[in-house]
């Protein structure tokens, strides 16, 4: 009986999520259909040496980094906030891990734990500015956005630190359960996020704070603790993404690591159906959004669009999805529909 009702709840949640992200799903479907026609071997997946290979796996693999950050960003945005500093945290996390490993000769696990603890602390710092100094989230996280990359360069002393440690490199290049490690990490982060927010009251608190902060406080919801948590969690997610990024290229590049990542993550969340005004959030939607962005990028590459130009069409796609989701856009669609219905009647 409890299992059955849990299943019912879960399926209800999935249906709601799917409805919330119908535009993103539609775009993804269109993109896949486009590729099915115009790109050779797009859907081919091979199994070799315990690894899965193929374009789709590639998209999953490269989209994981943004998707992991997007999971954290989803919770922040659900409280009607935003975190602009994730790119900087990615750079710092990678810098901490690589410099400890190479310069201090620390074991790989110490490097990783230190990087994660650092990101956690930076997230907490953001949350503290929002909660105690009552800065607007954009403003509060802007500080770290401005200073963070400088801090990362301070840690690496302005150099690109390369390493050969196979353990650390595994996080970006290895495979676990036949899938690339970043994908497994994504599954792990998403799972933890989903567990925390759906199996405990936390998800409800996050939604209620983002939806109606005053009413939440009147109902006794610990709004400050909730906000501290989401920024800290987001920092941690960025830290994990930072380890994956530096592990993938086997180097910490303070200047370019996580560059423009905050944009990708925020856009993934918005495409995923979570409103920037806060409230209902869709972790799964954000992941779909991140993968959609990655699929778009991949498609553009396959069309011989250079990596430098790719941001332009991505920006257009994002603005279109946002317009469709905006109240004015929805009204427009409704009017267009009713006119068409009126015309056919």
């Amino acid at each position: 009986m409890p299992l059955q009702s849990t299943m019912i709840e879960l399926s209800r949640h999935i249906v709601r999520t799917l409805l919330g992200i119908k535009w993103a799903l539609l775009a993804l479907a269109l993109l896949l259909a486009f590729n099915a026609i115009f790109t050779d071997n797009f859907f081919e997946i091979r199994f070799q040496d315990g690894h899965l290979y193929g374009t789709l796996i590639d998209i999953l693999n490269h989209g994981s980094k943004v998707a992991i950050v997007a999971v954290g960003m989803t919770l922040v945005i659900a409280t009607a906030g935003v975190d602009l500093s994730v790119g900087a945290i990615v750079a710092i996390s990678g810098a901490v891990a690589a410099s400890l490993l190479v310069e201090r000769g620390a074991p790989w696990y110490v490097a990783i734990v230190a990087a994660l603890v650092t990101s956690l602390a930076l997230g907490l710092w953001n949350g503290a500015l929002v909660v105690w100094l009552r800065l607007q989230p954009i403003v509060a996280t802007l500080i770290l956005m401005v200073a963070g990359r400088g801090v990362a360069q301070l840690i690496t002393d302005g150099r690109i630190i390369t390493f050969e440690d196979s353990h650390l490199a595994w996080f970006g290049n290895g495979a676990l359960f036949a899938l690339p490690v970043p994908v497994t990490m994504l599954a792990l982060v998403a799972g933890v996020g989903a567990l925390l927010t759906r199996r405990t009251a936390l998800g409800m608190f996050i939604e209620s704070v983002g939806d109606n902060e005053q009413a939440s406080r009147l109902a006794g919801v610990p709004d400050r603790a909730v906000k501290l948590f989401v920024y800290t969690f987001c920092g941690l997610c960025a830290g994990i993404a930072g380890i994956i990024e530096c592990s993938y290229i086997k180097a910490a590049d303070a200047n370019n690591a996580g560059q423009l990542l905050e944009l990708d993550a925020i856009l993934a969340v918005v495409i995923g159906g979570t409103s920037l005004m806060g409230g209902r959030f869709f972790i799964l939607g954000s992941i779909v959004g991140a993968l959609l962005m990655q699929a778009l990028t991949k498609t553009l590459y396959m069309l011989d669009v250079s990596a430098d130009i790719a941001p332009a069409p991505k920006a257009i796609a994002v603005v279109l999805v946002c317009l469709l989701q905006s109240p004015a856009g929805r009204e427009l669609i409704a009017r267009w529909r009713s006119r068409r219905r009126g015309g056919s009647a």
Partner: protein, 344 residues
Amino acid sequence: MAQQEKGGQRMRLPIGRRDIPLIATAIVLAGVYLFGVLTYEHFASWAVVRNLLVDNAFLGIAAVGATFVIISGGIDLSVGSVMAFAGILIAKLVEHAGVHPLAAILIALMAGVLFGTTQGLLIWVFRLPPFLVTLAGLFFMRGAAFVVHSQSIGVRHEFVATTLNETLSLRLPLGSRGIVLPVTVFILLATFAIAWFVLRHVRFGRTVYALGDDAQASALMGLPVGRATVQVYAVSGFLSALAGVVFMLYQQSGDPASCKGLELDAIAAVVIGGTLLTGGIGSVIGTLLGVLILGLIQTLITFQGDLSSWWTRIVAGVLVLLFLVLQRALDALAVSALNTSEES
């Protein structure tokens, strides 16, 4: 009832509470300069002042645009990309299409206005958050810059090299060898002067302040809120493009990969200059001081020699935080001052 008259003689707040951030900025600037003069031998020279202006002209112009947007309660993250786009567009038109530099500059400026207006319309008509629209704008213009040309193009047109960069520069008999101020410095100073006048003495400028202070009240007072919003982003687009032009003149080349993250420097300069990120309060004079502070820190780091350039960003971040805390503290002070004055 004996208190009936108290409203008329209510205690006045200390004059110029709003000026405190600006004064603080000026003190920081003076302090940084003094530190440089006392620490390094050749710091107190006209050459340093000249370089400060020349090296930061493009940042200053971009920061003026950011000042408009931030006072109106918005934010523009597309600045750096628009600059790169303007630079590469001019370089391409001049070097590859044979367009006269003046015409090319005009086209780039118009493109900036057009792009800014589009952002403003998306923000106003569809009520999308400014940071989201300009974030997408950042992506878009960066990509567009690479569409124009994927590599840096040197601008060797005679008009740019001689007329703009030499004939129009001014030699001042300051210091031992005299200094040369290029045209970019005059563009910078003119931009500040005009922006100051518009924000201070023109209806549009006052509407920008009102809009950032209380958008709802502005609408109820019958101010043209929508038009002003679009205009603010158009101004920012124009000034970003102008900053791109100045950067092109400074580098004598256009580069689609240039000016990454410059919007952050511009925003930092604006905040350090005492402008409130929530809108409604601020001035371009403060922004000028903020730009000079950032520039001086950069100069100090160069003089020090063994410090790296990333310290600029760290110091900028710390300064931004300090100024935000200062503003919070002043606000709290003002509220309690108002309360005690009402109680007395």
